[in-house]
């Protein structure tokens, strides 16, 4: 019997505010433990939360970028549970009346072939159920054998929780959606998208059902998915595990599991606090949040071009392939680099080839990002232009590029310093050709006697004389003319 998998994702994204959501403590990552804390985020009696305006602005920006309807009024609620990283005994979140609802992400999503390549990419719509504001909890460190250590620096960092509808039918769809969400948040500048450091976290709900059946199967939640790759691997593992349990006549329990990267499997999370009754009620310490039309429009007006719109534009404006356009719009920094280089070079295809080829390869070797490239976009544009004009052969241009990458120089400066320039001047080439013919009279005779294959020999000699800098096309043309006019 065939099974169908159904998945939904819950994504938590830390907002890039400088201070926490309800107090003035810094949100900076990596500070010594418990040094970015105060009576408010430590939940001391008598302290009161005051909402950070910027956190609201960023959450609204994300909601608009994801096509959500933003509520004119939303309310904060207390989610009550006991856990050591939650000093108040409740998390300030939103429950009824969240900040935003009913969004969607239009994602250029594909299928994974048996060889692991992504094929058949097309635009798919994945619905977003809701997006709300809340505070992050502290961080528990489980390294010690006996005890758990708790660091409250993260406690009170603003989060948005983005809950998808159960719209994913393959791990690739879930991967593509999460990737798109991450890129969108980076594009609009509200989250740095760093899954390893936990600024973007993902929980997944997975169930399977016999193909064609209407009712959902038992839903299992997976936590601890701190990279895009882990999400995909964990979902693949979990789908397989659930199908296996069902086909062997077993039953699934509703439970929370964790992904274990080292053993490449999920395992049941056992927590000593198992009260799944949060007794939400409106947070009495905070007024309802009101977002008027003027503020909404002000934020909407500041939205940049979003990843999918940019990808589509790159295809139509620059006539790039779908895959190239996806690559070049992966991050706003990459897209910006391409467009700045293109403005100088005027040649989109050649510019994209340089970026996707030599530049990406070298950046990878040195572990740098595109916005840290030693070759500026403008200099790459100039290089592409020089190659287009025939002043440099492709082989030479690659050498010039390597120098540019090493020193950060402009292509003109590298060419001047190394004397690397293609010789296209006919008079100069003719002088070299005559010299070569002079010292190889026998071969000239042979050529003229019909051994025209010797042309290659002459081209080689001219290249040797010019240290590879002669324009090969011109050399061919001129050699034939000289050899055939006895």
């Amino acid at each position: 019997m065939g099974y169908e998998a159904i998945m939904g994702l819950e994504v938590h994204a830390q907002l890039l505010t400088r201070s926490k959501i309800f107090c003035g403590c810094s949100t900076k990552f990596g500070a010594p433990p418990n040094t970015n804390t105060c009576p408010v985020c430590l939940g001391m009696p008598g302290s009161l939360p005051v909402l950070n305006r910027e956190a609201v602005g960023m959450a609204v920006k994300a909601a608009l970028a994801l096509g959500c309807h933003v509520s004119a009024q939303s309310i904060f609620a207390r989610k009550n549970y006991f856990y050591p990283d939650l000093p108040k005994g409740y998390q300030i979140s939103q429950y009824e009346l969240p900040l935003a609802q009913h969004g969607q992400a239009e994602v250029y999503s594909g299928e994974r072939s048996a060889a692991g390549k992504i094929v058949n990419r097309k635009l798919k719509k994945f619905r977003i159920h809701r997006l709300h504001l809340e505070e992050d909890a502290g961080k528990s460190v489980h390294d010690l054998a006996e005890d758990t250590l708790v660091n409250m620096n993260r406690c009170g960092v603003p989060l948005i929780e983005i809950v998808s509808e159960p719209d994913f039918r393959s791990s690739q769809e879930a991967y593509d959606y999460l990737d798109y969400l991450r890129r969108t948040l980076i594009y609009i500048g509200v989250c740095d998208g760093n899954m390893e450091e936990g600024s973007l976290r993902c929980d997944a709900n997975v169930s399977v059902r016999p193909s064609g059946r209407e009712a959902f199967g038992t839903k299992i939640e997976i936590k601890n998915l701190n990279s895009l790759r882990f999400v995909q691997k964990a979902l693949d593992y979990e789908i397989q595990r659930q199908v296996q349990v069902l086909t062997s006549g077993g039953q699934l329990r509703q439970e929370t599991r964790l992904w274990d990267e080292n053993n490449a499997c999920t395992y049941v999370m056992r927590s000593k606090e198992e009260a799944h009754d949060y007794r939400y009620f409106p947070e009495p310490d905070l007024l309802p949040l009101e977002i008027d039309a003027a503020w909404l429009e002000e934020i909407r007006a500041r939205l940049p071009e979003l990843p999918e719109a940019k990808r589509a534009r790159f295809v139509s404006q620059y006539h790039l392939s779908d895959d190239s356009a996806l690559f070049l719009t992966y991050s706003p920094f990459m897209a910006d680099y391409f467009e700045r280089a293109w403005r100088v070079s005027g040649n989109a295809i050649a510019t994209s080839n340089w970026i996707m080829g030599d530049l990406t390869r070298d950046l990878k070797v040195f572990g740098r990002e595109i916005d840290e490239s030693p070759v500026s976009a403008e200099n790459l544009g100039v290089l592409v232009k020089i190659v287009g004009s025939g002043q440099l052969s492709t082989t030479m241009a690659k050498q010039v590029f390597e120098e540019m990458f090493k020193t950060g120089e402009s292509p003109e400066s590298v060419v001047q310093r190394t004397g690397m320039a293609q010789i296209s001047d006919e008079a100069e080439l003719q002088r070299v050709i005559r010299r070569v013919m002079e010292s190889n009279r026998e071969q000239v005779q042979a050529y003229r006697g019909g051994k025209i294959k010797l042309l290659g020999f002459f081209v080689g000699q001219v290249m040797k004389e010019t240290r590879g800098q002669a324009n090969p096309e011109k050399v061919n043309h001129l050699l034939k003319r000289e050899l055939e006019s006895s």
Binding site: S19, P33, N34, T35, A55, S140, H142, L149, P288
Partner: protein, 101 residues
């Protein structure tokens, strides 16, 4: 409204509190009394009136009560941990909370 001892026990468990049997019975009776008193509100015609979670609304006053996004200095670590019974490595230390199956 009827409240059972199980209701009281559940609420106590969620609040991390433990009580003697007589205390539970006493709470049961008090809860019931309080809730019955609140039920007199049901006599009022309240259709069409939105639930009031807060007596004041920003729009009826001047504005939302916001804080600007300016980081302020935090407490020093030793003060933060001053009430912790047994801090460790600059952290609060608690009994282990997660176990592997």
């Amino acid at each position: 409204m009827k409240i059972s001892c199980q209701d009281v026990e559940k609420i106590a468990r969620l609040a991390n509190l433990r009580f003697e049997e007589q205390e539970i019975e006493a709470f049961r009776a008090q809860f019931e009394k309080i809730l019955s008193y609140m039920e007199t509100l049901n006599e009022l015609p309240s259709e069409g009136i939105p639930p009031t979670s807060h007596p004041v609304l920003p729009s009826r006053n001047e504005s939302n009560a916001f804080r600007e996004d300016d980081p302020k200095s935090s407490l020093p670590q030793d003060e933060v941990l001053a009430n912790a019974p047994r801090p460790g490595k600059g952290h609060f230390r608690v009994p282990k909370v997660i176990e592997k199956e």
